[in-house]
Symmetry: C2
Subunit: 366 residues, 2 copies
């Protein structure tokens, strides 16, 4: 019996669990398509017409490799934020960049700090490179910045993760709080500031991207407000030394040509993004009202989803989630207590929201 290939001890030790089970997998298990797909915080409002056009156009040239420098898109991003091109990195979604940041900064056995119940894919990458996760509980359903900072200092962690606005709760911190948090960071720590949902946040949560601080790498995505989740494209802004470090290990030809073209066009269509943000705000209000009608509370959200509090200790939310899935509704929920009192519902179209409301009303009363 041949036992090859021999894995490294680290890979041998890793579990086979994956960060997210896709809705398609659930559909195959249940043997039918979902009627409403409001579980992955995908945009229900499509893509900019100019992005659609740019993507169709890029398909015609698909036999050419993408520009590994992503020159045009990086130029546009640099101009948008008033930084230089060598302070901008493209990635096949934030997920890919998270993996590379962990790889760049974390040696096996080193501590990495995040919040208990925060983005599972970050945790997946930390484990995958042998880092030791230290998780800090949320406080009143918000990221506990003070506790994050304490953990970073206590453990001398080289890396800390913060999503603002947060996923899966949808809560946020104002810019002043995040800036104060950054100011307190030790100089040997890198903060990944994941701003995937920033377009949906109140102005008070937004602060300009300045690439100057070596303790921070800011990440943005085209998967949410821009509606291009399936294209796999996001970007990061950080000082040139940080971006250069990632350039030593990244997959240089990894960002699809069509995605680059679509993202460039979408970046220029600020009117479209504004209309999406408006639609999403309307949808959140619908969900707030729905929950109120049913005597349930919600968390105020700065994202394109709403966490509805089912009460109890995870049991209720899990039961409702199961019944929703049985009725053809794809939603997700936080994985750990006490966040798992909630289900997390993405803002769908008005039609999807109405259908969700109908099914949820029936299911929540059971």
């Amino acid at each position: 019996m041949i036992a090859a290939p021999r894995f490294t001890p680290l890979v041998e030790s890793l579990p086979s669990t994956i960060p997210f089970v896709g809705p398609e997998t659930l559909e195959r298990r249940r043997g039918a398509a979902f009627r409403v797909r409001v579980g992955a915080n995908e945009s229900a409002f499509g893509i900019s017409a100019s992005a659609a056009e740019a993507m169709r156009e890029a398909t015609r040239n698909i036999s050419w490799y993408n520009d590994p420098e992503g020159y045009e898109l990086r130029s546009a991003i640099a101009a948008l934020h008033g930084v230089s091109m060598d302070e901008v990195l493209l990635g096949a979604g934030i997920d890919e960049m998270l993996g590379n940041v962990v790889r760049m900064t974390v040696e096996p056995g080193q501590p990495v700090v995040t919040s208990l119940g925060a983005y599972p894919t970050f945790n997946y990458h930390v484990a995958g490179f042998g880092g030791v996760l230290e998780t800090v509980p949320y406080r009143d359903d918000r990221i506990d910045l003070e506790a994050l900072l304490d953990a970073v200092r206590r453990l001398r962690a080289p890396l800390v993760f913060l999503a603002n606005p947060d996923n899966p709760m949808g809560t946020w911190h104002d810019a002043a709080e995040v800036r104060a948090f950054i100011e307190e960071l030790p100089e040997w720590t890198l903060l990944v500031l994941d701003e995937a949902y920033i377009e949906f946040a109140p102005a008070s949560a937004v602060f300009p991207i300045e690439a100057g601080d070596p303790r921070v790498i800011r990440m943005r995505t085209f998967s949410k407000a821009h509606g291009m989740a399936g294209a796999r494209i996001g970007y990061a802004v950080a000082p040139a030394r940080t971006i250069g470090g990632l350039g030593r290990i990244r997959n240089h030809f990894g960002v699809n040509r069509i995605a680059q073209a679509g993202a460039l066009a979408s970046l220029g269509d600020t009117a479209f993004i504004a209309s999406v943000v408006e639609e999403v705000a309307r949808g959140r209000n619908d969900y707030y009202a729905l929950a109120r009608r049913l005597g349930l509370s919600t968390l105020q959200s700065a994202t394109n989803f709403v966490a509805i509090d089912m009460g109890g200790y995870g049991d209720r939310a899990r039961a409702v989630l199961g019944r929703l899935q049985d009725q053809g509704v794809f939603v997700r929920m936080p994985g750990v207590a006490p966040l798992d009192r909630c289900i997390r519902v993405t803002v769908g179209t008005a039609e999807e929201r109405a259908l969700f409301a109908e099914i949820f009303e029936a299911v929540a009363g059971e």
Copy 2:
């Protein structure tokens, strides 16, 4: 002065060199677009009409994440090769999968065997994970299987790379030779058999993909014959344990939705691929004839490119390459002696070949 982020010692030690400079970068340097782009072994013959249609259609649904299991495409690939789905991995091009295979099998300081002048991106990943490259010279411009095997045994290397047909020389080994090579591999070694160009190879070089041998992972791409280089999609076939190991570390949502749709359609259009292969054979013959006319020799190629031997010791090929670029022709050449006697010219369209011939004839005579 804040020095963060601190890189791991490994990343700190890596050079900033990249495997390939893209033609777009060269165009920006010279301040003009290339007239003929025959340097990256991209297909000049487009994509299948059904793939184009599938990709346009997938663009409409781009707001949804891709299926992280790639179920439909993996099913089709499994059926094509008569293997099971859990023996098939999708990746954002072979490049991404190479990185993950290295990460899965190579610890810092361990030896990895490849050929001197073979695929630079593989070498990049080996360095990136701290592996120590052992390179074996080509023999008569072909991969030296015996020497590869000797090096693997001598160093007890956990990983060895072999492209068949080969890039950058275009030469190949018949199936019987490769199979004999595999039979001789120690049980603790994994062979990456990169078959990116296999569609262009003579039937004698092709042997069925059987997922049974744990010492082998076979890699195929949609970037060459399928004409989808910019979509970034390829696949690997290996025993389920190997694919499962890669599943513990891969970026699960990494393969663009449009790419998956296009690849699935293209896989079904065997008539299109056959027509591309025929066109490429014609183009190779044109390059052989061109070289003969100029008194130059060529290597018989089993790929979509031809290595033209300029003689000398790298100096001549480099000079010709520079003059070609000055004239607006993008070609590449092998990086090391003695392969660097050659320039490597991708088969373009009939029109591109004619323009290349015209410019090359002028330039080669200088």
